[in-house]
Amino acid sequence: MSVDAPVSASPVADEPGDALMIRAREMSRVYHSGDGVHALDLSIPPGSIFGFIGPSGSGKTTTVRLCTGALAPTSGSVEVFGQPPSTFDAAMRSRIGYMPQLSVLYEDLSVKQNLAFFASLYGPTYSTKQRMSDMLEFVELSEHSAKRVSQTSGGMQRRLSLAAALVHEPDVVFLDEPTAGIDPVLRKKFWDRFRDLREAGKTLFVTTQYVGEAAYCDYVGVLADGRLIALDTPDGLRRLAFGGDVVDVEFKRLVDVELLDEMTEAINAASYDIRSPRTVRFVVDEASTALPALTSWLNDRSVELAQAEEFLPPYDDVFVELVNRFRDEDVGIAPGTSGRLQTTRPADLETS
């Protein structure tokens, strides 16, 4: 497949800092080995789900730790609620929820005791009987509340960890691979919960290795080798990967290349790729306008169409495309324009 579109962030508006929940500027954290994250620019509005996708070791957890204040940047800056998290006092920390990548539960304690422990760290208000009951119901663990954690399944433990991160009703929640190692049904439930939280005005920063989960997010950042290689809405990311919308055209008979070249010019396609003797994939600026134009142009020339439709590439392909291009071409996001998002209200966004 040939796609000429450069890997870059979608055009964004630069919002004032106080309208953002999380803002990072040239944020770097470099370890002695040279690994870490490099010059990340992030601007995440409140009330959104920000997905952070990247392969293992790409720097997702380091980024989360920088945003929670557990780590301090070696250069650049990061602000949450308009303030560096490393300077947070107890009251500000209470506004953050954090679910680490690995289980941090106490195996000797029961499900309820674990939840009560984490709730009590934020004050007696959150460890009341009613609150415990509500939270356990929220994560569907009410029936297992008396079980010791050591006797629960991995999925139950992830749900309990989620409850522990949310029990104090934080404004922003950092979830480090919350769906890792759990079955698709439970993953779906998790994302349903996340969207509920977003609807309640919470901001979620979710890292994941499951690229398909990008579809659930309002914005997605793609991280590779410690660098942010793309940042956009899910649809925007797809367009970014392929240089525009993708349209698959199936002809009833074989067509020659001259026709395809003319057709490309006529519908203003960026490129095309012959997928099979009768099937061709075009990259167009807008599928919604290109498809009628394409049908009309072919009718005028009496070329019979079997099928023409927009193709939505899976996010796995999007991710692979982006990462490969980054690694092959060492193309990054142009400084100064990368990592900033349109601050469209998430409720107005269509997610797949």
């Binding site: 780590l71 107890a90 954090y98 680490p100 106490y106 934020y122 004050g123 950092f174």
Partner: protein, 508 residues
Amino acid sequence: MKYSFSIWLSGTLAFFKKELIAIVRQPKLVLTLVAGPFAILALFGAGYKQSVDPLTAVFVIVDSGPFIDELESRTDELGDDFKFVGTVDTAGAALTEIRSGRADVAIVVPPNPVTKVRSGERAVFTILHDRLDPFEQATISLLARSTVNEINDRILQDLVTTGQGESADLAELVGETQSSLSAMRAAMEEGNTAEATQRRNDVTSSLAAIRAETSLSEAVATSVGDGVGGGEDVTTGTFGDQLNRLSDGLDSVDLSESDSLDDDIATVAALEEDAATLDETLTEFRRIPPDVIVRPLDADTEVVSAADLQVVDFYAPGVIALLIQHLGIVFGGLSLVRERARGTTEVFQVAPVRPMQILLGKYAAYLVAAAIVAGSLSLLMTRVFGVPIIGSIWLFVAIMTLLNMASLGIGFVLSSVVDTDMQAVNAALIMLLLSIFFSGFFLSLDRLTTAVRVVSWSLPITHAIDSLRDVMFRGAGVDIRTWVALGGGSVVLFALAWTLLARKLASR
């Protein structure tokens, strides 16, 4: 949300409850902590012997002679420390006996011991053994010296007994001396110079006979005078002095000079009194038992502390203290390391949790757990073994609590510097070994050099064991040094642990 004291307290109590539940959820752990040391002490108490078995000994006798025959015939008198099991004629054979386990030691008898003594040298008995334990080696040396002293005493005792038998003849000669002096004085008063001279010759002959026969008895009598009297009697002197005084006094009497007759009569009268004293000395010498003469001084010890202690009693406070210290160090040491390994430290970094809350909550939980263990163990020891607590029970509790706090401090400090729970456990074991060797638990601190004693007294447990023994067995109070060491140490260690934990939790 405004951060308030209630939130602070809620967080602190969360750690307290969490740790306590985790411990209670491990009944086997609690049971082991109580039953383990109790079983060890019970076994120790049941198996400990107040006296050691006698060492089996073979004699290595190269030559023969009257002394050797005598020695072999009296092996049952070696004392309780050695048990004679046979005789061999070479050192090599003796070593074979030792290595085969048939004998613990070999006593090499020197060749011709009597000849050696007569030549003015000591006859040295050499003890051979193959024990590795330095304490056993010292014990064998001590037992050997003690046994040789015992043999020496028996030799002397036999000689004294013989001397006392011979002193009957001496008494008769002294009696004759007294009679001759009385007759001499009577002849002088009557002016019978010839008779006086005859009697004087009789006295001289008697004194010479006494000198001839009492060369040994005189030496013994001299030592009796020194030992029993605490020194020479200035009026009577020793047996030899008295004999000399008699001889000198007799020599001063000049029977040919009539001008000094009155003085000479007075001199002879004084000599009569000296002879009577000599007789009394001999009588006293025969009256004193030979073993008293040989060993005039003895020692007896009496424990003046309030408690009559068994060996188990003595070690009980040390065992409890060691357990409490080990518990504190392991609890504290593992606690933070495991939080780090589990990843919860990262959550605490993000949550509104302060190092003080973590430490206070954990300290309180571990204090309660250790108090339950120590209380149960103390109860068992006092009720089952009858270990006494004569002093204040509250002082006992206070020392235990402070030791626990100090130990937790050590544990938390260790926990902040080690990386894995394996390292924490190893560090706790090293602390345990350090404490066993240097706390005075089984080895008196007097046996350590001053420099090493600094190490001993830098350990909280050293102060605790010392004070616990004072409180439990002497009914004494606790000195200021202990309060400062345990209390101050606890505070300093807590502050250090807090500082280290704060650094760990700070943004890095």
